[in-house]
C-alpha cells in the first residue's frame, strides 16, 4: 500500500513519453543552441580572428568550395540576365592572384551575390556549394537505395541481407509509425514521397556534419522548397472535409446569418493557418540544423579567441559531445519533418467523422 503513490507518480510521468521527449528535446536543443549563437553574433570585431565572420562564412552558400584553407574548388557560375543572356564561367574568374574579389566580364560579386556592373539584377543559378552538395546528397541517396532495392530483387521472398537489412527496419518504421497512423487507409499514395523526404533530410543533415561539407538542410532555400512541396501536396489532396473545415468550421451548429460576423475573423485565421504549418516546417529544420552548426563552430572558435591550450582541450571535448548530439538531431529533425508532413497530409485526406 505504501508503494502505491510512487507507482502512480511514475505512471503519470511516462504518460505519452514519445511526444513529451521529442518536445522537450526540441526545446532543449533550441535553447542550448541559441544562447551561444546570440552571444557570439555580437560585434566581436577582433583584429585577426572574427568568429561571426568565420561562422557565417561556414554556414552560408558560396560560389566556391573551400575544403580547407588553401584548397578551394571553384564552382561554375551560371547567370542569366535580360541584358547579357545566359553566361557560364568558373567562379575563379572573380578572384585575382591575391585572392581579392574582382569584377569579371561585366559581372561583380559582392558577398557571394552576383549582379551586373551597372547594379542590375541577374538570375543566379550557379552550381554553388549547396547545389554541389545537393547533387552529392542525391547521388548518395540513389546509390544507397539502388543497393537496397537490389537486395530485394536478389533475396526475393527471403530474409533481408546486408545493407537491405539495415534500411528495412527504418523504412518499416517510417511506414508503420509515421505514415500509416497519421494518414490512415490512404497512406500508400504518400509513402514514396515521405520516405524520400525522410531520407533526403536525414542524409542531408548527416552530410552537413562532415567537415568542409555544405550546410544543405540548414539552408532556408532548401527547407523552403521542401515545405512548399509539402504545402502543394496538402492542398492538392485536400478533400471536402478539409476545405469545409477551413471555410465552414462551425458547420450547421448555428444559422448562416450568425456565422457571418464570426467568419470575418475566422477565415483569415484559417487561411493563415494553411501557410503557418509549412512555414513552421521550413523554420524548424533550418533553425535546428543551422543552430547546430553555429554552436559547434562557436565552441571551436573559443579556442582561437582565448588562445589557450586548456580552453582548446575543453572546447574540443565539448564540440565532440555536441557533434554526437547533432548526429541525433539529424535523425530527429528528419523524423519531425516527416511526421508533421504526414500529419498535414492526414488532415487533408481525413474523412468526416465526429
Amino acid at each position: 500500500m505504501r508503494r502505491q503513490p510512487i507507482v502512480m507518480k511514475n505512471n503519470r510521468g511516462i504518460q505519452n513519453p514519445k511526444f513529451l521527449n521529442i518536445r522537450s528535446l526540441i526545446i532543449a536543443v533550441v535553447l542550448l543552441l541559441s544562447t551561444p549563437a546570440l552571444a557570439l553574433s555580437g560585434d566581436e570585431s577582433g583584429e585577426k580572428f572574427n568568429p561571426s565572420d568565420m561562422i557565417s562564412h561556414h554556414i552560408s552558400d558560396a560560389h566556391s568550395w573551400e575544403i580547407f584553407h588553401g584548397l578551394t574548388i571553384h564552382l561554375p557560375v551560371i547567370v542569366y540576365s535580360g541584358e547579357k543572356g545566359l553566361d557560364v564561367f568558373s567562379s575563379s574568374n572573380f578572384y585575382d592572384e591575391h585572392h581579392n574579389v574582382v569584377p569579371f566580364n561585366g559581372y561583380v560579386m559582392e558577398h557571394e551575390h552576383i549582379s551586373l556592373e551597372n547594379g542590375e539584377h541577374v538570375l543566379d543559378i550557379s552550381i554553388t556549394k549547396n547545389v554541389l552538395f545537393l547533387f552529392i546528397n542525391s547521388g548518395i541517396l540513389l546509390l544507397i537505395f539502388f543497393a537496397v532495392v537490389r537486395g530485394y530483387k536478389r533475396n526475393e521472398g527471403q530474409a533481408p541481407r546486408g545493407i537491405q537489412s539495415f534500411f528495412e527496419p527504418i523504412i518499416i518504421y517510417v511506414r508503420d509509425e509515421i505514415v500509416k497512423p497519421n494518414i490512415g487507409p490512404k497512406y500508400e499514395k504518400y509513402l514514396p514521397f515521405l520516405l524520400t523526404l525522410f531520407f533526403f533530410i536525414w542524409f542531408g543533415n548527416l552530410l552537413g556534419l562532415l567537415p568542409a561539407a555544405a550546410n544543405l538542410t540548414g539552408n532556408i532555400a532548401v527547407t523552403l522548397t521542401l515545405a512548399v512541396i509539402v504545402l502543394i501536396i496538402t492542398l492538392a489532396s485536400g478533400g471536402k472535409y478539409y476545405w469545409s473545415h477551413i471555410f465552414d468550421p462551425l458547420g450547421s451548429s448555428m444559422p448562416w446569418i450568425a456565422k457571418i460576423p464570426l467568419y470575418i475573423i475566422l477565415w483569415p485565421i484559417e487561411i493563415i493557418g494553411i501557410f503557418t504549418k509549412p512555414f513552421s516546417l521550413m523554420i524548424r529544420l533550418f533553425a535546428n540544423i543551422t543552430a547546430g552548426h553555429i554552436i559547434i563552430l562557436s565552441i571551436i572558435s573559443l579556442t582561437f579567441i582565448a588562445q589557450s591550450i586548456a580552453v582548446g582541450i575543453g572546447a574540443t571535448l565539448f564540440a565532440t559531445v555536441m557533434n554526437m548530439l547533432e548526429l541525433f538531431v539529424a535523425l530527429l529533425q528528419a523524423y519531425v519533418f516527416t511526421l508533421l508532413s504526414a500529419m498535414y497530409f492526414g488532415q487533408a485526406v481525413e474523412e468526416h467523422h465526429h
Binding site: S138, F146, L226
Partner: protein, 162 residues
C-alpha cells in the same frame, strides 16, 4: 542567411523532384510491394499453420468421437450377447427341468405299474404255492380220521370264539 536564394530553390526543386521520381519508380515501389508480399506471405503462413492446427484438432476430435462410438457399440453388443446367452441358458434350464420332470413322472408311472404287476404275480404265486402247500399239508394231516376230527373241532372252536 535567412534570405532564400532563388538559384538554390530552382536546383532544389528540380533535383529533389527528380530524385523523388527515380526513387518512387525504381526503389520505393518494388520495396513496398516486396515488403507487402513478404508480410502477407508470413501472415498467410501463420494463418495456414493455425488452420492446420485447427484441422488436426478436428481430426483428433473426430477420432475420439469414432472411438467413443465404437466403444459404446462394443459395450452394447457385449451387453446384448450376455443377455442372449443368459436367455439361452435360462431357456435350456427350463426345458431340461420340464424334460426331467416328465421323465421322472414317466419313470414313477412305469415303476408303479411294474410294482403292481410284480405284486400281482407274487400274490398269485404265493396263492398257488399256499394252495399247493395246504394241499400237501392237508394230505399229510388228514390222513387219519382223528386228525380230521381235531381240525374240525379247531375250526368250530374258532367259529365259536368269533
Amino acid at each position: 542567411m535567412v534570405t532564400p536564394e532563388i538559384g538554390l530553390i530552382i536546383w532544389q526543386t528540380i533535383v529533389f523532384l527528380i530524385v523523388f521520381g527515380i526513387l518512387a519508380a525504381f526503389v520505393w515501389k518494388p520495396i513496398v510491394s516486396a515488403l507487402k508480399t513478404r508480410e502477407s506471405f508470413i501472415e498467410d503462413s501463420l494463418q495456414a499453420a493455425e488452420n492446420a492446427k485447427a484441422e488436426m484438432e478436428q481430426v483428433k476430435a473426430d477420432n475420439e468421437y469414432l472411438l467413443q462410438e465404437a466403444r459404446i457399440e462394443r459395450d452394447k453388443m457385449l451387453k446384448e450377447a450376455v443377455g442372449v446367452a443368459n436367455q439361452i441358458k435360462e431357456d435350456a434350464k427350463k426345458e431340461t427341468s420340464v424334460i426331467t420332470d416328465k421323465m421322472i413322472a414317466d419313470a414313477k408311472v412305469s415303476i408303479e405299474s411294474e410294482k403292481k404287476a410284480a405284486l400281482a404275480e407274487v400274490k398269485s404265486l404265493v396263492a398257488s404255492l399256499s394252495l399247493e402247500i395246504a394241499e400237501k399239508v392237508l394230505r399229510e394231516k388228514l390222513a387219519s380220521d382223528k386228525a380230521q376230527t381235531e381240525l374240525i373241532d379247531k375250526f368250530l372252536k374258532e367259529v365259536k370264539v368269533n
